[in-house]
Point group: C2
Chain length 211, copies 2
């Protein structure tokens, strides 16, 4: 199937959103935890998070705030508290996690509405999702409005990590499949991942090899 730019423009807006959100491919499925200045917690599912660098340890993601959407609440909270958490989603969490994308009123915590337990670390003003086997705390490092489409790029410095002990390999990497973590496709599909194949550092003068 070939779909060019003029075809994309002509697609029904929901079909276009479903198609373009299926790009670039499998995406990380995460719950973004934040807290308002009056200690109201908020949780929303995001799938635009990406790695920016390991030293300093930085992650980025995009928020598309609607005036009354959950992403708007999250953005407000991040700009106020300067802190946020990212919590990986497992197969057991998928139904509840997807449900955080519904438009709950600002005074409703998605933790309560969707059935997750929140906990806080002392001195850090964003809630973690207890059920998640991979919890990431981020300190806001940069915020910019992307003029090209009015979305917000958030860059956070990794401040704290918590994950299943046995998933940490000797080389430093995490075995996400062992943790039951899922990936996301498009706006509404969640996929378990199979056991992976890990490859040796690639060198131009030797063939590729698995570890």
């Amino acid at each position: 199937m070939i779909v060019d730019a003029s075809h994309i423009e002509k697609l029904d807006s929901r079909v276009r959103a479903a198609l373009i959100n299926s790009l670039p491919s499998v995406k990380p499925a995460l719950l973004l935890g934040t807290q308002s200045s009056n200690e109201q917690s908020n949780l929303c599912v995001i799938n635009s998070c990406f790695h920016i660098g390991a030293n300093p340890a930085l992650l980025g993601f995009v928020l598309r705030p609607n005036p009354d959407g959950v992403e708007r609440h999250s953005l407000d909270n991040i700009l106020t508290s300067q802190q946020m958490t990212l919590n990986a989603i497992t197969d057991n969490m998928v139904s509840r996690a997807h449900h955080t994308s519904a438009r709950f009123p600002r005074n409703v915590s998605e933790f309560d509405a969707c059935g997750f337990s929140e906990f806080y670390r002392e001195g850090f003003n964003a809630p973690f999702v207890s059920e998640s086997p991979l919890k990431i705390a981020l300190q806001l490092a940069e915020h910019q409005l992307l003029a090209i489409n009015g979305t917000h790029l958030i860059i956070g410095a990794v401040d704290y990590l918590e994950f299943t002990d046995t998933a940490w390999r000797e080389d430093g990497s995490l075995d996400l499949a062992t943790m039951g973590i899922v990936g996301c496709v498009g706006l509404d599909s969640y996929h378990g991942i199979r056991e992976g194949r890990q490859f040796a550092y690639a060198k131009a003068d030797r063939p590729p090899a698995t570890l």
Copy 2:
């Protein structure tokens, strides 16, 4: 396992890179195809690509150029030609795709060195990977140096898509599992995805439901 910021800083640099690259979670595994002004093709594997918006259709990714690395060649080519392709990686392509991360000299095409077939569309100056079931052409829309760590953020407008006919669902989404597309974890692991669960649009006043 708890790893806080001071612990992260003290980690051996390779261990830190492996750990932080395992964040945020499963990532898209893509081959970035570019062409230099003297028609030398280049291919490198990237896993930092993310969705920015559906209308206009925009994707972003980060390049971390080393003076002599393959990402440097890609960046130079993108800034010159203003065009690039992203090609999803399948299980069959994984060994060859990972091998594109080796440091080949600038005058070597990773298509030849790693065993992929390139093809061009008329009027578009970046090579597609024939073997990929999901090919995306991007026109450079924005380039910025992220001052925070010296990486380059590339934003591209989706100009053209080519994918397996049967993978396009009626709702507009793509069935990536059917196409055999893999996700990436960290710097060197590739994971097949299981059949997914697709959820209905979430509404605050009704429970979550699969489609």
